[in-house]
Amino acid sequence: MKIIIDGKTIEIEGKKTVLEAARENGISIPSLCDHPRLIPFSGCRLCLVQVKGSRRYLPACSTECGEGLEVKTRTPQLVRLRKQILELILSEHPNACLICTEKVNCDDHKSTIRKVGEVTGCVLCPNNGRCQLQDIVTEIGLESVGHPSVYRELEVRRSDPFFDRNYNLCILCGRCVRICREVRGLSTLTFIQRGPNTVVGTAMDESLLRAGCQFCGACVDVCPTGALTEKSMKYEGLPEQTDQTICTLCSLGCLMDVHTRGNRILYSQPAANGPVNDGQACVKGRFFLKEVVHNPKRITRPMVRENQEWVEKGWEETLAFVARKLKTFKSGEMALVESSQASCEEGFVLRSLAGGILKTGNLIRPHVQAPVSVYQRMMDRAGIQPGLNYDAAAIDGAETIVVLGTDIAATQPIIWLQVLDAVKYKRAELIVIASPEFSFSRYAGTWLRHFPGSETPVLTGISKLILEREEEGRAGRAAGRAALAADLEGWSLKDVEKDTGLTLEAIHKLTEKLSSPGPVAYLFGAETASRPDGEAVLTALWNLSLQTEGRLIPLGMESNERGLMELDRDGDGKWTALEEIQQTIKDRKIKALYAAGPIKLPLKAKPQFLVVQTPYWDEMAEAADVVLPTVSSAEEDGTFVNTGGRIQRCTPVLEPLGDTRPGWWILNQLSRKLKSQVTEYKRTSDIWKEIRKEVDALSGVTAAFLKEGGDLFVKESPAGEPAYIPPGQPGKPPRPTKQRPFLWLNLANLDSYRGLVFSREDKGFRLFRDESRALLHPEDASTLELKVGDEVILESAAGNFSCRVRLDDRVAPGSVVTALAPFRFADNRASHVLTVKLKRGS
């Protein structure tokens, strides 16, 4: 279609607004409230244009292009009108600096003092220099403001973590309110009051913490002024450089713009071109990436313990020492630990070191408990190729989305945005099967609250009902139906009711919904898959998915679980369990331990020689004999594979801090000290020459990809014929006992990086999401005489854990919900449902 803007004929494809069409063709129309991710608001009125045939001026941001539309964007009337509207906007915003005749020279002559209580001009504003209002004033060429300006005299809100809100600078464009509602689905922010008293705030003017804010920072990023500013960069000024890299703080790998000055990160923002995150991030990527890098616990020099004293040494000397020591142990006396947050390169070199040089099979790989690994292993055993790769389309195309047992909005906030988009704008139905009520459950059409840990009977019950009602339906397609039917004979619906606490009617209703035509996506996380009975749950889920046009989507925990899993895929499928190693350490059979990842160690039985490779000074480093400091997230030079199989490069945005090195470099140098024939790797591409040869799934990682990036997924063999997996006979889900009268759910916790627990490091994070919190139903708490903030000891088969009480009536009575970091557990499983006794702490 053709339209005419300012006399210029423009060819347009698809549905577009006048503003979009103009911008794409280099015609600038000033606007403050418009944002590419948001539904037009037409509030600021700066983009008013003249449209032929319309009596009124129309806002370009919400006027759609039609064939032959004739638009004028800069008639003298419009220019005058815009100036006047901008004057009105500026009468509510400190404007002295904006129209100051000296503003051009200001930077040369005035120092910038931002440590002020009130921002009364741009030179005092943290956003000076990256403010869209400043840009618009320049673009429109405003030189004076005809109205006396009004300072709202509102208190600056500083009590919430991560960012401050100064509504004296707000121009009420509503972008923050809209992104919170339209894109993030939270509506934490809203307009309150009306007319001249209108301000942005929360319901009942509560703090953001209390109003349910997830601190994703989306509002901060869309704010055109300095009203919302990140606390930690208030006095920082402008960055010198911006580079892109991926965030490695969870299993998704969001692309981030990292803004740096010198060798320091000032802040990180989600990149608009991020293939997985589409301009969005979560609290970790947005506010914690720099905390992970510039953390006071960082170790910057290799250190060796000499006579109970730590001595800083050079790499050469330290690694030579480690090699010398390791040579004194027999293969069977050594064990290694890896981190699922290590790059593929690091993983590969570590495997070479363990298997090829130290010749030990004692390599602890936490990824074996990751949902994707459990799923893959189970399928492998059944001889099925399900196809593990997935991207946003898998969720986008689903008409029904089932979330099983995971607080997806907290653990996988970016994947949740895809679910939300499907539910909110594409009328997909959300079904939540979980014991606690999660905050995102408000979007669910159905929420099944079953007894904790009884997922298998819930899902198998549904399977049985579908099988019964659909004799020749969709259930008939896959192989192995007879075996399924035979096993399901042994599952009585009466028992299902008893074991799950659900009524048959509720299960029937859900069955109805799942049987309706249209693709179903089943999302599950560590909460179910990583449990000891994870495979049983996944079997039930798999069978159900075959009956309902469904597909299983495993959600991940750590940044490179999938990549490390692919490295191991052609192996013998055996792995050493953490429990075993711990026992052998206790028995003094393991004498040397090389820990390149965090684990729970029996510290009393410390091995003779302990090497810890870590970026941070933690309990394990303190117990070590040698500490080898590695780079952290944004300094990392390596390749990561997200849970959906997308291969991404993490390119360093900084020089390694101090004398730190990438893990692969350390391991390679150590290997060379142990065995001189080992090839030296100068850069990651050297390692890939070998990975490509050895690991077919990752053979797509070419030299060109390493240089330029691109959309690349793990190579998979085409999905094979699906078949039902007989579920066997029903087991007994955990039920409370006299000794341990509560059921304890430990949900997935992704708030740590290489042993650094965010909520322990940062008060703001702790206020928002405390790793050590235990959620209790208020009634249970009152019975136990526990109050908010009290210490409670969880006594269970997995050991005793100290937590802080929080009251939450969304937790089912009789249960206690935590999200303790995986490495707190001796068996390295991410999740548990256990019976537990609650005891007041000291």
Binding site: L88, R194, G195
Partner: protein, 415 residues
């Protein structure tokens, strides 16, 4: 006396009860519509009657109903706008107080015509007793089988709900009303899409004023031709005019569309109190531009008032006498719109308070030369530049007042 006027039941004892209404052949038209007529017949009759909306904008009701897409899997809704927030307007309160069943009958017929099974009456929060009366009427009607499932064995279902507003003028704007009804902040929506296609809960929605709907049974009863003959060919029927101010008999008067404004004030409302002289008239609620005494020899219909650069609006006639200070009138107008702006778009949110402050300063005797020009400049920046009609509703009276009473206003300015 035969029921030939909206105001037929006004001020009669017990007029609001179902028994009274049935005694006056109430619900006969609904019966006829449901049992004998098709929705198409009904739509044609309403179109032929040239019934224009009584809320302010004066859009033909039949045409509006015709915009609602037929079929589709989404439910459709009727919202009766009983927010009646325009200062000076109180006619709908009369209808709902004295003839709630006439309104309900109109709702039944309208819903049947458009294929609607759920209707909401969005009533202003202050009308608490009126809302109660409506609730009672709905209960009575439901008990009698005029509402609910399978009305009068016709197979047609209808539920009517009363929803009370929370005191914002903007919620009388139809899209803000929808937002409010959905439980959200009452901000206006962008148009298009229009409510007829995407309205309440994203479904096709008809929004009509109380008086508009209350006319429907009369159209059916006496025929569209009769209705047209009552008023003007393109603007049929009668209208309720609420006269307020220092007239001898303020109140609601039902006159044919096209009656004389002068007659309304000097004949029906009895002329000015205490021999005072008329100074100005606001002819259609506070947002209508003010008329000077030499401009009131005019007929009360949309077109002729538009010609006089004012508007018929909600038909609320505010009479102003010689004692009134026009600065005070201006202050009240500016105060009101500044307070009632929703805060979404710049010109209205910032411009109106700015005008209010300037007028307040003038009222305090601190006016300065150039104030009136500045007020007019800002008002002109509001007029036609805002997202919803509230901007125009504020700017129009301010522009008219500052133009027509410039000299008087200037006397308050020091240099």
């Amino acid at each position: 006396m035969e029921d030939k006027a909206i105001s037929h039941f006004f001020k009669q004892d017990g007029a609001h009860t179902l028994a009274f209404y049935l005694n006056q052949n109430g619900y006969e038209q609904a019966k006829k519509a449901l049992k004998e007529l098709t929705p198409e017949d009904l739509l044609n009759q309403v179109k032929a009657a040239n019934l224009r909306g009584r809320g302010g904008a004066g859009f033909p009701a039949g045409v509006k109903w015709g915009f609602v897409p037929q079929g589709g899997d989404k439910p459709k809704y009727l919202c009766v706008n009983a927010d009646e927030g325009e200062p000076g307007t109180f006619k709908d309160r009369y209808i709902m107080t004295y003839a709630p069943h006439r309104l309900l009958e109109g709702i039944i017929i309208s819903c049947f015509c458009v294929g609607i099974n759920t209707a909401y009456i969005y009533i202003r929060g202050e009308y608490e007793n009126v809302a109660q009366r409506l609730e009672t009427a709905i209960d009575e009607a439901r008990a009698q089988g005029f509402l609910g499932k399978n009305i009068l064995d016709s197979g047609f279902d209808l539920e009517v709900y009363v929803h009370r507003g929370a005191g914002a003028y903007i919620c009388g704007e139809e899209t803000a009303l929808l937002e409010s009804l959905e439980g959200k902040r009452g901000n206006p929506r962008l148009k298009p899409p229009f409510p007829a296609s995407i309205g309440l809960f994203q479904c096709p929605t008809v929004i009509n004023n109380v008086e508009t709907i209350a006319n429907i049974p009369l159209i059916l009863h006496h025929g569209p031709e009769w209705f047209c003959n009552q008023g003007l060919p393109k603007d049929g029927g009668t209208r309720l005019f609420g006269v307020s101010g220092p007239v001898k008999k303020p109140g609601v008067y039902e006159l044919p569309v096209g009656a004389s404004l002068k007659d309304l004030i000097f004949t029906h409302a009895g002329g000015m109190q205490d021999g005072k002289t008329l100074k100005a008239v606001i002819p259609g609620g506070m947002s209508a531009p003010i008329l000077k005494p030499d401009e009131i020899d005019i007929t009360l219909d949309g077109d002729s008032l538009m010609e006089a650069k004012s508007m018929l609006g909600s038909g609320a006639v505010i009479v102003i006498d010689e004692d009134a200070s026009m600065l005070e009138v201006l202050r009240i107008v500016a105060e009101f719109y500044s307070h009632e702006s929703c805060g979404q778009c710049t010109p209205c949110r910032v411009g109106n308070p700015w005008i209010r402050k300037t007028v307040k300063r003038m009222a305090e005797g601190k006016g300065r030369r150039g104030d009136i020009e500045n007020i007019r400049r800002v008002a002109n920046n509001i007029l036609g530049k805002t997202l919803c009609p509230l901007g125009d509703a504020a700017a129009l009276p301010i522009l008219a007042l500052t133009e027509k009473f410039k000299e008087e206003l200037e006397t308050s300015l020091s240099d």
